[in-house]
Symmetry: C2
Subunit: 231 residues, 2 copies
DNA sequence: CGTAGTCTTGACCTAGCTCAATCATAGTGG
DNA sequence: CCACTATGATTGAGCTAGGTCAAGACTACG
């Protein structure tokens, strides 16, 4: 299982290269390319800690990342999953509001906060692009808020699967889940058991099938979209 | 009651003038002052609609505003409450993701998107300040996410009351609720009845008292902070 | 005084949580 | 190659917080 989780990483990297929706976004980011150095982070390791000084920003080359907020009462909230191509830690704040952890083995580009700041003040297109990304991030957060307030377990899981299938290019409507059920639960505001039960329900109603525990085939995408409801 | 809701507006405006936490934020925004024109919006009226062209930005002079997302299934999500001093609609997007409505009668400063864009490219301090505000907004959204995922009705309402009391200066730990129970419910991901019940519970346990239906006194702030839990 | 909008309270019901047992899979060491 | 172990996933059996539905109560205002 660990093995398969690691393989996914390579997939993402490859697929993102050709995913058309990223091409547009790439242009203004070329200015970054020369500034960064490449680093790797092993599965489960922290990229940065909650409360740490925000001295670097990152771009995910391959692998996926979770943004984690840990509560005193032991609860864990996953604020966001990020995949290859996504930017990370560009919030304009002195210290991290949440931690970033590698869900699978990751290759990242790392940029110093200072050089990014300079780029933002000097390159208008880049600055505008960053503002746009932040706005999209905020929009996504509000969407999740609606999800967490008003949606049933089925709707949440359906939404999650569709979202993941859109964000990571995939062949034949087959998606790899690099994260555990626990991760999904903490992302969707549910418990592990409910995530598991909901997946089996979807499987039994023929909407999805599971080649392995973390390889899911979207058999009936229309039914899944119905199950998600509108957002 | 309508009367009292309207009175609050004037209070906010006055109090924000002297609230120390706003003073710092005001400096970089002075550049805006000359660009805007003042408008008023009556209680319940739309400032902008969901999906509308985002051609203006606003600053709240007095009154309060809700950001509303309406779902096809009839559910309504209030993404944010904004009070005097807050900025509104500065997201870098072509059309509005949610609608903005006046919770009470409002006085707003309105700026054309074009002039704000120019200011952002020309005034680095202003641009930085705007990035910082957006980052704070995102942080707030993630906090709400935690709230919606893991918190009980009591914790949500306690959090809401404390939040409101911090954001709107108030005398003697007394806060005015410009919004209805329905608004609060749609903000906290609950139903009207539960909001009402929770408020009575807090009242009966002596944590708060209610001078009128929308004027709440925080009798025991410590107990309220306990009820909120940590965030 | 009547009306309309808002708020409160009560009685019920259910989606999803908790607790607990079992199963599946990958990695390990002999 | 085969136990053995650890981690994760599934399934089952209750239980409860909060949602639903329905009936009143309060308040502002014409």
């Amino acid at each position: 299982m660990l093995q398969s989780r690691t393989e996914v990483v390579a997939d993402y990297a490859l697929q993102t290269q050709v995913a058309p929706r990223r091409v547009l976004a790439r242009q203004p980011l070329q200015a970054l390319e020369t500034l960064g150095q490449q680093i790797t982070v092993r599965r489960g390791k922290e990229i940065y800690a909650e409360g740490a000084l925000a001295d670097h920003c990152y771009k995910i080359v391959s692998g996926s990342v979770r943004l984690v907020k840990l509560m005193a009462d032991g609860h864990r909230q996953i604020c966001e999953f990020l995949v290859a191509g996504d930017l990370l830690g560009f919030e304009d704040e002195d210290d991290r509001y949440f931690a970033a952890e590698a869900v699978s083995d990751c290759v990242l580009m790392r940029y110093s906060r200072r050089s990014v700041d300079t780029l933002i003040t000097e390159d208008n297109a880049f600055a505008r692009h960053m503002r746009h990304l932040t706005a999209k991030g905020l929009e996504g957060a509000y969407k999740r808020m609606v999800l967490l307030c008003h949606k049933t377990a089925q709707e949440r899981v359906a939404w999650f699967l569709l979202e993941l299938s859109e964000r990571t290019a995939n062949d034949n409507d087959c998606i790899q889940l690099p994260m555990t059920r626990g991760d999904i639960a903490d992302y969707l505001g549910m418990v592990i058991e409910t995530v598991s039960r909901t997946l089996t329900q979807l499987k039994e109603s023929g909407v999805i099938s599971m080649q392995s525990v973390n390889r899911i085939k979207l058999v009936d995408r229309d039914a899944l979209e119905d199950a998600r409801g509108d957002l």
